[in-house]
C-alpha cells in the first residue's frame, strides 16, 4: 500500500468534517477500553461497536478497509501461533490453554486495530497534529511533525519515481543489483530532501515565517450531547466487558 492511500481516504471520508474531539473520543476511548477489559466479552463488544460505526455511520468502503486491515491482521495471526505452542523439557508441544490464549489475544488485537483503522480512515494526520497542539504539545515538536508530514508525500513521490526509473532500466534484475539500486535511491533521496528543505526554508523566511504556521480552521466545535453519548456507550461497554 502506498503512503498516500489512507490519508487520501481520510480526506475524502464522510466523517472528514465531524469534530475532531468526537472522533478522537470515540476511537481512542474505545481503544483504551479494548486493551483494558478482559478480551471476552469486552474486546468482542468493542470490535462489534466499532465495526458498526465504521460501516454504518462513517460508511468506510469495505474494499479499502480490507486492504488496510490485511497487514496488521496478518501480523496478529503469526503472533497468535506462538501462543499455541509451549517450550518444555521435551521440546515443543501444544500448550494446554494455547487456543484460549491465542483467541483472547486475537480478540483484543482486532478490537484495538479496528479502532485505529476507523481513526486513520476518517481523520487526516494533520488534523490530529493540530489537536495535539491544542492539548499542549510544544509548538516546535508539532511544527516539525507537520513539516515531516508534508515532506513525507513530497519525498515519497520522488522515491517512487526513482524506483520506477531504476526498475525500467533493469535495476532490480538480481538481488545484488536491487540492493545496490535501493541504496542509490536512498543516497539520491537524502540530498534532494535536504535541498528541498533548504528551498522551502528560504521561501518561508522571505515571507516572514517565525516558526509556526497559522492557518484558518473551519472545523465545527464538538457537540457536548454527542460527546456525552459516546462516553455513556463506552461506560456501558466497560460495564458489559467485565464478567460478573
Amino acid at each position: 500500500m502506498s503512503i498516500g492511500v489512507i490519508d487520501r481516504a481520510a480526506s475524502l471520508s464522510r466523517w472528514r468534517h465531524r469534530p475532531l474531539a468526537e472522533k478522537a473520543l470515540l476511537t481512542l476511548g474505545f481503544l483504551i477500553v479494548a486493551v483494558s477489559v478482559p478480551p471476552w466479552p469486552g474486546a468482542a463488544v468493542v470490535a462489534l461497536v466499532i465495526l458498526a460505526v465504521t460501516f454504518g455511520a462513517a460508511r468506510v468502503p469495505l474494499g479499502l478497509w480490507l486492504s488496510v486491515a490485511a497487514l496488521p491482521l496478518g501480523f496478529m495471526a503469526s503472533g497468535a501461533v506462538v501462543l499455541l505452542v509451549q517450550v518444555g523439557p521435551e521440546g515443543l508441544g501444544l500448550a494446554p490453554h494455547g487456543l484460549q490464549d491465542a483467541a483472547a489475544l486475537c480478540l483484543r488485537a482486532m478490537a484495538a486495530t479496528f479502532c485505529l483503522i476507523l481513526l486513520s480512515l476518517t481523520t487526516p494526520a494533520a488534523d490530529l497534529m493540530a489537536g495535539l497542539r491544542r492539548l499542549g504539545l510544544p509548538a516546535e515538536i508539532v511544527e516539525i511533525a507537520l513539516l515531516t508530514y508534508r515532506f513525507t508525500f513530497l519525498i515519497g513521490e520522488s522515491a517512487v519515481a526513482m524506483t520506477h526509473a531504476q526498475s525500467a532500466r533493469l535495476g532490480h534484475r538480481t538481488n545484488r543489483l536491487w540492493l545496490r539500486s535501493t541504496a542509490l535511491v536512498i543516497a539520491g533521496l537524502l540530498p534532494r530532501a535536504m535541498d528541498r528543505a533548504r528551498r522551502l526554508e528560504t521561501g518561508m523566511a522571505a515571507r516572514g515565517w517565525s516558526g509556526e504556521m497559522r492557518v484558518l480552521s473551519d472545523r465545527p466545535a464538538a457537540s457536548w450531547p454527542v460527546l456525552a453519548g459516546i462516553a455513556v456507550v463506552q461506560i456501558l461497554v466497560l460495564a458489559l466487558g467485565w464478567p460478573a
Partner: protein
C-alpha cells in the same frame, strides 16, 4: 517489525510509554535548543524525519527470497545522532501507525523504545566504539547498521516474551519462541540493511555538500 495495535496489555503499554518518555523528552529538549540556535534546522530535521519514513516504505531483497524494508535506524543514528533520532523516531512511528496502519497507538511506547531508543543507541555506540578502536569506516558502518537493526528485533522479542511468557518454561521459553520467529529471520535482513547502509554512506560521501555533516554536527553536539 512493529508490535501491532492491541497486542500488549494495558499495564505494559503504560510501562513502555513511561520507559520511553525520558529519552524522548531529552531528545525534544535537544531539538528545541537546536531550533532556537538555528531556526533553519527545523526544515532539515523535518526532511530527515520524512526521509526515515520513506526509507521504511522502500523494499529491499532479503537473502531468504522474500523482501523487506530497511529500518534506517543505523543510518539515522550515524548521520543525525541518537538523541534527535528518538524524537524523529516517535514522529515516524506515529505516522506509520496513522498512515500505514503499521504498529499502533497503544504500542507506540513499546515500539518507540525498541526502534527509536535501543536501535539508534546500539548503532551509535558501535559506530563510536568501532571508530575509537580504529576499525575501517565501511566495516564500522556495516556493523552499526546490521547490529542496530538486529538489536531492535531482539528487543522486540524481549518485549513480546515479557507480555506472553510460556506456560511451562516462562519468560526464557517465550523469548526463545519469539526470537526464533522474529529475530532469527531478521539476521539476513540485518545483513542486507548493513550492506545497504554502507553503499548509501559511500554514495553520500561523494555527492552531498556539507549539509548532512553540519546537521549531524549540530545534532550530536
Amino acid at each position: 517489525m512493529h508490535i501491532m495495535e492491541g497486542y500488549l496489555p494495558a499495564a505494559q503499554c503504560a510501562a513502555w510509554y513511561a520507559a520511553t518518555a525520558p529519552f524522548v523528552v531529552a531528545g525534544a529538549i535537544r531539538l528545541r535548543r537546536i531550533i532556537a540556535e538555528r531556526p533553519e534546522a527545523r526544515m532539515t530535521l523535518a526532511a530527515a524525519g520524512a526521509f526515515a519514513f520513506v526509507l521504511s516504505a522502500l523494499k529491499i531483497p532479503s537473502v531468504t527470497g522474500s523482501c523487506s524494508h530497511p529500518t534506517g535506524t543505523g543510518l539515522g543514528a550515524v548521520v543525525f545522532g541518537p538523541a534527535v533520532m528518538s524524537v524523529l523516531g516517535v514522529i515516524v512511528l506515529l505516522f506509520q501507525a496513522l498512515l500505514l496502519a503499521h504498529g499502533g497507538l497503544t504500542t507506540l511506547g513499546a515500539n518507540a523504545f525498541s526502534m527509536a531508543v535501543v536501535g539508534p543507541w546500539v548503532a551509535w555506540g558501535i559506530w563510536r566504539a568501532g571508530r575509537a578502536v580504529g576499525l575501517g569506516a565501511s566495516v564500522t558502518i556495516f556493523l552499526a547498521a546490521a547490529l542496530g537493526d538486529l538489536a531492535t528485533y531482539v528487543f522486540t522479542s524481549f518485549q513480546l516474551a515479557l507480555a506472553y511468557p510460556d506456560a511451562v518454561s516462562g519468560f526464557a521459553g517465550a523469548m526463545a519462541k519469539f526470537a526464533s520467529i522474529f529475530a532469527l529471520t531478521q539476521i539476513p535482513l540485518a545483513i542486507a540493511e548493513g550492506l545497504l547502509t554502507v553503499v548509501v554512506i559511500d554514495a553520500l560521501a561523494g555527492k552531498t555538500d556539507n549539509k548532512v555533516a553540519v546537521l549531524a554536527g549540530e545534532a550530536r553536539g
